[in-house]
Amino acid sequence: MIATVDQLNANIAENTKKIQDKLSGADGKRHIVLCGGTGCLSSHSAEITEKFNTVLAEKNLSEKVTVNMVGCFGFCSQGPFVKIYPEDTLYRLVKLEDVEEIVESDIVNNTIVERLLYVDPVTKEKVAKQDEINFYKKQRRVALHGCGVINPEDINEALGFGGYEGLRRALTMTQQEVVDEIMKSGLRGRGGGGFPAGRKWQFALDQKNDEKYVVCNGDEGDPGAFMDRSILEGNPLAVVEGMVIAGYAIGAQNGYFYVRAEYPTAVKRLKIAIREAEELGLLGDNILGSDFSFRCHIRLGAGAFVCGDEEDLLNSIMGKRGMPRPRPPFPAISGLWGTPTIVNNVETLACVPFIMRNGYEEFAKVGTERSKGTKVFALGGKVNNVGLVEVPMGTTLRELIFDIGGGLPGGKKFKAIQTGGPSGGCLTEEYLDEPIDFDNLVAKGSMMGSGGAIVMDEDNCMVDVAKFYMEFICDESCGKCTPCRIGTKRMLEILTRITEGKGTMEDLDELDELSQTVKTNSLCALGQTSSNPIVSTLTHFRDEYIAHIVDKKCPAHICKNLMEYHIDPDKCIGCGMCAKGCPASCITRTDYIAPGHKLASMVIDPTACVKCGACMSTCKFSAIEKR
């Protein structure tokens, strides 16, 4: 039990020494840690952990070497990761069959397994340490503090790595002082809204009510963002601590985590963190001997994107359909069961312990004038280094995509970066040197949103991308507001028409008009922002829309009705493999034998072709192209 501040101090001192000794090697042991994020788990990191244990036991090394799983390393495209302390050697793309070699070579003989090191895509040099990899160099970890370092299923590791130091300080301050500290830090809502967290807390603090709630929004719906999941998987206690601090600040006794049902690992680890904190007395009555009592509860989402909006989320917790209502009153005045409630995103709450632990100055010293601190981005799509990155606000898109992301694979040309998911927009090459912050991206016609950042190359059709997002929104619209329910459906129909080559130029005007109507006449953020992907692609890629409508061509060769497969008769050697695999039997032999070839070339009948692309993937001679 940790019932007093003195006991907490003793516990923190003991565990901090343990962690430091582990990282520095002062405990005389070696430590193998593996990434236990969802990405690496799917690449068998749990089985690899088991295998390490077995192999070490066989060699009687279990006493001298520990093995455990930690949270997400962030560099998902190179997973699974194995890291060895104290040398800090990082192995990537590790497979089950590599385990014996790592143990034999690295652990027993102190020789690095060169072939498993990360290779810099530009310099082609092997890099042994995490901090020396370009992907990590420009990063700064605030919200992701502890992720990839501590064991998320062991509260002692969290307590040895800064855990509960923020709450310890908060409890020495008045509620107003804590709110002021958050206000001065400049922390803004990381879920997408960007509303100053301190102001939200102040509203709730000012309410005189015995019952108040803190709600953590973990309904991470943006398809392409996974920072909330990784934080909950990597350092759940930090989010719990953030919630407890918020509870103390506004005078709440209960907090609810609302987490997507699609995130089983995150839920499991959050449950463990809450249970362990309760067992130690770090949650419950009279926390650390104070008058302050607080309890955490978990609620699971049930697959509704719209519940990421706070009103909808609160309705869902209250057992209703996740639908919005007109505001005001805002939740800080009247939220859960009509009481003052603050809703903060996972990443926002994860920043709170850092601010309370280190002081607001430390948090606010990085960032831009109006967006302080760091932001986590889920970098994905057509970029070499796919993963989770945390950078100071004000970092440019170019640094994000090319320095950290390592550029685009296959030497393809950058076309656009889509930020903010279905509520955001696309930014083109001319914006690459723009600093990323809340206001700047909005001014440029996109938004930071929750931090999804999908890179697109010349092979992505922007009309198709707009259609993809509209399908998503149309499906997820709750149906309450007519402009959103019907307007998104009409916009989707128009986009579908255009991608099928049946669009007209009048359709573009209609899209403009519908976008405005839906934006200005919907209650919640889903409807208000639903047309952003259309507006931004229409602004930056109007020529692609026109190519679909007037020329009946899809420049990226994605829209099936507007492209065809073609065999280059001079490259085709006439092997006939394409015809064998063709499900539509539409490939036949011609009379033409190209110079230097023995057999006549093949040809595709475009009227019968179903455009499955099987021929293209079968052809070993690159004779088939899209056009």
Binding site: A304, S316, M456, Y469
Partner: protein, 162 residues
Amino acid sequence: MAKLSESAVQKIVEICGRYKDEKTPLMMILSDIQNEYGYIPLEVQELVSQQTGISVAEIYGVVTFYSFFSLTPKGKYVIGCCLGTACYVKGAQNIIDKFAELLKIQPGQTTEDGLFTLDALRCIGACGIAPAVSINGNVYPKMTVGAVPSVIAEYKAKEGIA
């Protein structure tokens, strides 16, 4: 109520009882039932209504609102193809199309033998390994159209179907 077996009634009453002390337990009750039985038919909703005093209309409204809840049984293996943005730009649509073609069902449907359900998923947060497919929670990273037949075969083999 005729359709529900005695043991099912007992189980559902027990699930409703778990959340007696909650102010608004409906979502938790429905989640547990969905996890236990894989679907929440009308008869079950009526029973939940009797137990909690919440009207069937309201329960039905909630069940049909959330995509996680289902009115009809799902297949033994639920193939979830992630169609999040990261997966989509890497060709996830072609993968779900291939599953649909080979299983002869549309997304959202279940095969006649009750073995497979095909679902389009909204981002499972595995963007680093896109395109991803999740079968009963087991995630297949970096899927390709070419690998679809062997994945289906893997599950058919488990059932002893060649």
